[in-house]
């Protein structure tokens, strides 16, 4: 299902509008990146899309032409879109397995990332940020096989953990899911736009936040162009 923002105004209060009014649709499936500098409102946009933050006005919906899904239908909505924040939750006493069980059947993780199963019996608070972040991505994948919305998920990760996380997202996209990710990590952008990837895995859309609005960018933007735009 396409993820759609209609007349969406994002911000903390009417006096502090960050973005909008936005009209934008992210097409179902594929890897979608939202770029923007610090403080541009990337995080708040994503949090508004997943209903973790109230929209100032306008609405978010999902549709596939025939059917329209609204956040109000909570049970169906949360099965179609899941969120991973930039920092994994802290001081959580539940075990990894219990965390997964909140969103689905933990044994499914085995297929996506066998290494993670070794952590199943640990408490989330016993893991490093990098491990915990992978656990949270796996949890989001259990919750939704459609949209995964990630807010700079690699910000705190070392190279190894980043690679693992990318490969999980690869898998999600390959199974037909959609990923919407905010980032200022141009290496990540480049990785997804590199030609050596299979067509299904390549970047599906690139949008950038500039002057309170969202703007679609050509997929083949070079890193130099992007860093210029981000500056």
């Amino acid at each position: 299902m396409n993820l759609k923002a209609s007349n969406l105004v994002v911000g903390h209060s009417p006096e502090r509008v960050l973005l909008g009014p936005l009209d934008h649709a992210w097409k179902a499936g594929g890897m979608h990146l939202v770029l923007g500098g610090n403080g541009s409102g990337k995080s708040t946009l994503l949090r508004t899309l997943v209903q973790a933050h109230p929209a100032l006005s306008g609405e978010v919906s999902m549709s596939d032409g025939k059917q329209k899904l609204r956040p109000k239908e909570r049970a169906t909505w949360t099965k179609a879109i899941a969120f991973v924040s930039s920092r994994p939750p802290q001081q959580v006493g539940l075990t990894v397995k219990e965390v997964w069980a909140l969103s689905g059947n933990p044994s499914e993780v085995e297929d996506w990332h066998p290494d993670l199963m070794g952590l199943a019996a640990f408490r989330l608070s016993e893991l490093s940020d990098g491990q915990a972040q992978q656990v949270m991505v796996a949890r989001a994948m259990l919750q939704s096989n459609r949209w995964l919305v990630l807010d700079e998920p690699t910000a705190f990760l070392d190279v190894q953990a980043q690679r693992r996380l990318w490969s999980m997202l690869d898998g999600h996209v390959a199974r037909g899911g959609g990923v919407l990710m905010a980032t200022h990590d141009l290496w990540g952008v480049e990785r997804w736009s590199e030609a050596q990837f299979e067509a299904t895995l390549a970047l599906s859309s690139l949008t950038m936040i500039r002057r309170g609005n969202l703007r679609a960018l050509p997929l083949n933007s070079s890193k130099e162009d992007l860093s210029e735009l981000l500056a």
């Binding site: 949090r47 959580v92 006493g93 539940l94 965390v99 909140l102 408490r123 016993e126």
Partner: protein, 330 residues
């Protein structure tokens, strides 16, 4: 570690049975075992002094202590989850002081409402304040300090009421403030039992939401929890429970805050469904233990107030928590 929790659970269970038995068996009025047995089964003379003592003094007191222990233990667990704060509890956040103010208004200022309604209303008002404030404060410590300020403010209001109260009402209020399990009858003990049942059903029903809430309010919201409904239910439940317990037993300190930590010390599981049994057990054990001390000192003539005993137990637990977990609050 894997063996620790079942063994601890069995010990707690055995302690609970022994303590309950001692509480029923032992008292200031001596009974030989045959009289006691007859009183338990009602096979002796009807309305003998032993039957009266057992059924109207020891039974209600024991059951009140157990039920109040269970309820406050669970409430401590729920508040610690709700505010994601290991040092939250009905006493610390000023919720019981809200109840005290309610009772003070009823007893000292002669407000014509039942004390439990006044106490519940007081608790609810403070809870609403804390819930609103905790949204604004990022740090859990700030919420605690806020709760502390609320209890100071409420405490001063109570003091002002005391200053203008009559001697008799003042005396009964002060005794109530020391806390006791010994003032309720069998019906009131039964009502606490009913509350235990309501609480248990709610916790089991909402265990998924409670577990999800530990990941953070934002995460919980994106995972299908409706925060307004969840917090509304929690608010109502905690208000009524603390209000009712406070009006019957006085503003009990530490029991709610310390019980979940005593359980966590012995057990590894952190999901709410897995914790509720152990927390209930330890709550009842701690309540009976403290009341045991109160009853022994009563018999000895030194009359230690329940709240003083609870603080003697509870304060070291809190210090131990602070000491042990500077990083990991789970």
């Amino acid at each position: 570690m894997n063996l620790r929790s079942p063994v601890a659970m069995m010990c707690a269970c055995a302690m609970l049975v022994c303590l309950a038995f001692l509480h029923l068996r032992w008292g200031e009025v001596p009974m030989d075992k045959f009289d006691w047995w007859d009183a338990v089964w009602g096979t002796g003379e009807p309305s003998s002094i032993h039957t009266t003592i057992l059924w109207e003094v020891r039974m209600p007191r024991t059951f009140t202590a157990m039920a109040a222990g269970v309820l406050l233990g669970w409430l401590g667990m729920l508040l610690q989850t709700w505010f994601r704060n290991p040092l939250a509890g009905p006493g610390v956040l000023g919720i019981t002081s809200g109840g005290s103010l309610g009772v003070a208004l009823a007893v000292l200022a002669g407000l014509t409402v039942p004390t439990w309604v006044a106490a519940s209303a007081g608790c609810l008002v403070v809870l609403v304040l804390i819930a609103a404030a905790s949204k604004r404060f990022v740090s859990p410590v700030t919420t605690l300090v806020f709760g502390l300020m609320v209890s100071y403010a409420v405490g001063s209001a109570v003091t002002l009421l005391q200053a203008s109260a009559s001697v008799e009402s003042l005396q009964s209020f002060i005794f109530w403030g020391m806390g006791t399990f010994g003032k309720s009858n069998m019906w009131q003990a039964g009502s606490l039992g009913a509350l235990v049942l309501v609480c248990a059903i709610w916790i089991v029903r909402r265990s998924g939401w409670l577990d999800t809430w530990t990941l953070g309010e934002d995460m919980a919201q994106t995972m299908g929890v409706t925060p307004a409904q969840f917090q509304g239910e929690l608010l109502l439940l905690s208000g009524v429970v603390v209000g009712w317990v406070t009006s019957l037993c006085g503003p009990l300190a530490f029991l709610g805050l310390a019980t979940p930590h005593v359980h966590k010390f012995f057990s590894k599981a952190r999901s709410h469904r897995a914790m509720m049994g152990g927390v209930a057990m330890w709550g009842a054990v701690l309540a009976l233990l403290s009341d045991g001390v109160v009853r022994v000192t009563d018999a000895g003539g030194s009359h230690w107030p329940l709240n003083a005993v609870l603080a003697l137990f509870g304060a070291p637990v809190v210090v131990a928590v602070l000491w042990k977990r500077t990083h990991d609050w789970s």
